[in-house]
């Protein structure tokens, strides 16, 4: 059985408390997400057509999802014609079993892997270890977290939670010829030296897919490091693991999606290396794998398709913009979510993949500020989908009693305007007793809030009181 994150015991509140207490983590998260946010914004300045491109991208993915049966069969037909082998996997265990069987059939001792979130989702790293097959992660960030024995904390920057000092220590302990100066350039070079012969000597290369092209059977991978091509070219066997929602009708549609994906992910216009793989090595080819296998993985996706809300989540192209712009993700980082996919998209996807009972806290890790939906390149209504999960967990009785009682009490007051106004008038005055220069550093009954940040002190009087005054003075009504 392949172990996924769900098998580990994650207590969301404890993970969050640990994350919030970790100042280094906050620094590391900010270093990458702030840059990502700035770069994306700059990229959109040069792309005034973004709004229309986004509408089109949304329509392309909706079209694929609405015709998924057709595109799966068309892709399969064309991939088989190109000489690829197609495998179908209902769930994570089946997918891992297929990959392990293919690796064993190839007599694989060592496999290289180019980062794939689907691979993480199905627990492939663990399955390979259990099968006794050496796994070499080739994406620099995946290499870092493999050395640290950790899991990704972001879908684009898996090692975003690591500082350069931590990376330096890991490389010095593990690399055969490590860096001598404490500079990021030297560390990157150390990894380059370390992984060179691993690439060339691997028996099997495993990659994910950013897009599957139905009309040609091609698999598109994108990287900035070039590690996907170095992973998939030298070994005798290339295995692709891909979710069934990765289809697009043709390369032209893939190009339209790439414009959205890359800008949203890193702020570049196109990844440095964008490769379309069609079938195995051909007669006369100078290099390339002799066998090309594609594992099409359902793992809950057809179930999401049957749900009209979650169907929208199948548009997701895994760019990571929602987490870069999420106030919650930026406070707690990816690991606190306790799942393969963190941030807003993860909080929607994880309950769908692993069940709402296991992930009932995640849809509450959201302020509903709507930033994620705003930046989503395929307009997924993430806040609405999160509310859907909250609704479901309420109905299924998964919300803790203290919260149910609290909400019941709030409802009682909110339904009685006089009582509500009286309560808020008392509260705003009481809260001002704790203020220091416009801010409240510590507040009884709200310690868990003020432990990590200050609360702005409220104005001396409530909104309704101020409004009444203005009306009395005959001022402009809002």
């Amino acid at each position: 059985m392949a172990a996924t994150h769900a098998d580990k015991v994650h207590v969301f509140k404890e993970d969050v408390t640990r994350a919030l207490g970790d100042a280094t983590l906050k620094l590391a998260i900010d270093r990458t997400t702030v840059t990502a946010e700035r770069k994306r914004a700059a990229a959109l300045v040069d792309f005034p057509e973004f709004a229309e491109a986004r509408r089109r991208g949304t329509a392309i993915k909706n079209h694929v999802v609405a015709n998924l049966d057709h595109y799966l069969e068309q892709f399969e037909r064309n991939a088989l014609a190109s000489g690829a082998h197609i495998h179908w996997a209902k769930d994570a265990d089946e997918a891992c079993a297929i990959v392990i069987r293919l690796c064993r059939a190839a007599g694989a001792r060592s496999v290289t892997r180019a980062k794939s979130m689907l691979g993480e989702e199905i627990g492939l790293p663990h399955a390979l270890a259990e099968a006794g097959i050496e796994r070499v992660e080739t994406d620099l960030a995946e290499h870092i977290i493999q050395l640290a024995g950790e899991t990704p904390s972001h879908i684009i920057w898996p090692a975003l939670h690591k500082t350069r000092e931590q990376v330096s220590e890991l490389f010095k302990a593990a690399h055969r010829d490590p860096h001598k100066v404490e500079e990021v350039e030297a560390m990157v070079e150390s990894a380059r030296r370390e992984l060179r012969d691993r690439f060339m000597n691997a028996d099997v290369g495993i990659s994910g897919a950013n897009f599957l092209l139905a009309d040609s059977g091609a698999v598109c991978t994108v990287t900035n490091e070039g590690n996907a091509e170095l992973t998939t070219t030298p070994p005798r066997v290339h295995i692709v693991t891909a979710g069934i929602e990765k289809l697009v009708p043709s390369m032209a549609h893939a190009m339209a999606m790439l414009r959205l994906l890359v800008r949203s992910a890193t702020g570049a216009d196109l990844t440095q290396y964008t490769t379309f793989h069609t079938g195995p090595r051909r007669a006369g080819d100078r290099d390339g794998p002799e066998e090309f296998h594609i594992v099409l993985v359902d793992n809950g996706r057809s179930r999401m398709l049957a749900d009209h809300g979650l169907r929208e989540m199948l548009r997701c192209i895994r760019c990571g913009a929602c987490m870069n712009h999420c106030v919650v993700y930026r406070q707690i980082g990816g690991h606190a979510y306790g799942a393969t996919y963190p941030g807003p998209m993860g909080a929607v996807l994880t309950p769908a993949l692993e069940g709402v009972e296991k992930a009932k806290d995640l849809p509450h890790a959201c302020t509903l500020n709507g930033r994620c939906q705003e930046v989503c390149p395929v307009s997924i209504p993430l806040p609405t989908l999160l509310r859907g999960w909250r609704d479901r967990s309420w109905k299924e009785g998964l919300v803790p009693q203290a919260m149910r009682t609290g909400l019941g009490l709030w409802r009682f007051v909110a339904e009685r305007p006089r009582l509500y106004r009286l309560g808020s008038a008392v509260a705003v005055r009481a809260m001002r007793l704790f203020r220091r220069g416009g801010w409240i550093a510590s507040l009884p009954l709200a310690k868990s809030w003020t432990a990590y940040r200050d609360m702005p002190a409220p104005a001396g009087r409530t909104f309704m009181e101020q409004l009444r005054d203005r009306e009395r003075q005959g001022g402009r009504q809002p």
């Binding site: 270093r31 990458t32 840059t35 990502a36 057509e49 229309e52 491109a53 089109r56 329509a59 079209h63 998924l68 049966d69 057709h70 799966l72 190109s82 179908w88 620099l140 960030a141 870092i144 898996p158 090692a159 350069r164 990021v184 990157v188 990894a191 380059r192 060179r196 012969d197 690439f199 040609s216 900035n224 490091e225 070039g226 590690n227 091509e229 170095l230 070219t233 030298p234 069934i244 009708p249 043709s250 549609h253 893939a254 190009m255 339209a256 790439l258 414009r259 216009d269 196109l270 990844t271 290396y273 379309f276 069609t278 100078r286 290099d287 390339g288 359902d298 057809s302 398709l305 049957a306």
Partner: protein, 212 residues
């Protein structure tokens, strides 16, 4: 029932239909590609060759560029580049007949790049002005690894092969090669604290020689 059938059946059940209508689907897919100008950035200058030349040296791509009048001037241009970087006149040279027909006297040449190759030279099949991209197709005279193993990736591109937009390449991609490699700059990573470093696994330098 096979897993394939199980998955396809649950997809069809979710979509609430028995059989798709391929003609209607194809028409809808084609309509989604209408008016491409509305969903892509316009070229900064109308001429694709000039747009490519501007783009490839911009910080977005970060390559270096030399323009030569004719392919015959390539060996001398490559020599200038190697000399500027203090590299010996040794190359993994793509066994492309057009390139091999040039005068490489004084060069040590091999067909395929070694894992620690300093420099490789290949001819790009197409250029894409929109993104400053070079397109290589794998084949009998093009090893994929030649674009990924060397520290210095030198690419020669003939001006008439420059297409304006990504879709223009997509329209030409049939029949598909085993690998179509779209190269837009040198290898880079931002995986350590978001700081940008070149030469992660692939080339640290991309140099383009544009002919014509």
């Amino acid at each position: 029932m096979s897993t394939r059938e199980t998955i396809l059946d649950s997809v069809r059940a979710a979509l609430g239909r028995r059989r798709p209508d391929p003609a209607a689907i194809a028409a809808e897919a084609a309509a989604l590609l209408a008016d491409p100008a509305a969903i892509r950035p316009a070229l900064p200058v109308p001429d694709p060759v000039e747009a490519f030349a501007l783009r490839v040296v911009s910080p977005k791509v970060g390559a270096t560029l030399e323009r030569i009048a004719a392919l015959g001037a390539l060996p001398a241009a490559v020599a200038r580049y190697l000399d500027a970087h203090g590299l010996p006149h040794a190359l993994a040279l793509q066994p492309d007949p057009e390139l091999r027909a040039l005068d490489w006297a004084g060069y040590a040449l091999r067909d395929t790049a070694r894992p620690d190759e300093a420099a490789a030279l290949g001819q790009a099949l197409w250029g894409i002005a929109e993104t400053g991209t070079l397109v290589f197709h794998s084949g009998a005279d093009t090893a994929v690894l030649n674009h990924f193993l060397p520290l210095h990736h030198i690419a020669v591109l003939q001006a008439p092969r420059i297409l304006p937009y990504l879709e223009d390449y997509a329209a030409l991609s049939d029949p598909a090669p085993r690998n179509a490699n779209l190269v837009t700059g040198a290898s880079g990573t931002t995986d350590i604290e978001g700081s940008y470093v070149r030469g992660a696994h692939g080339p640290r330098f991309l140099h383009v020689v544009l002919v014509g």
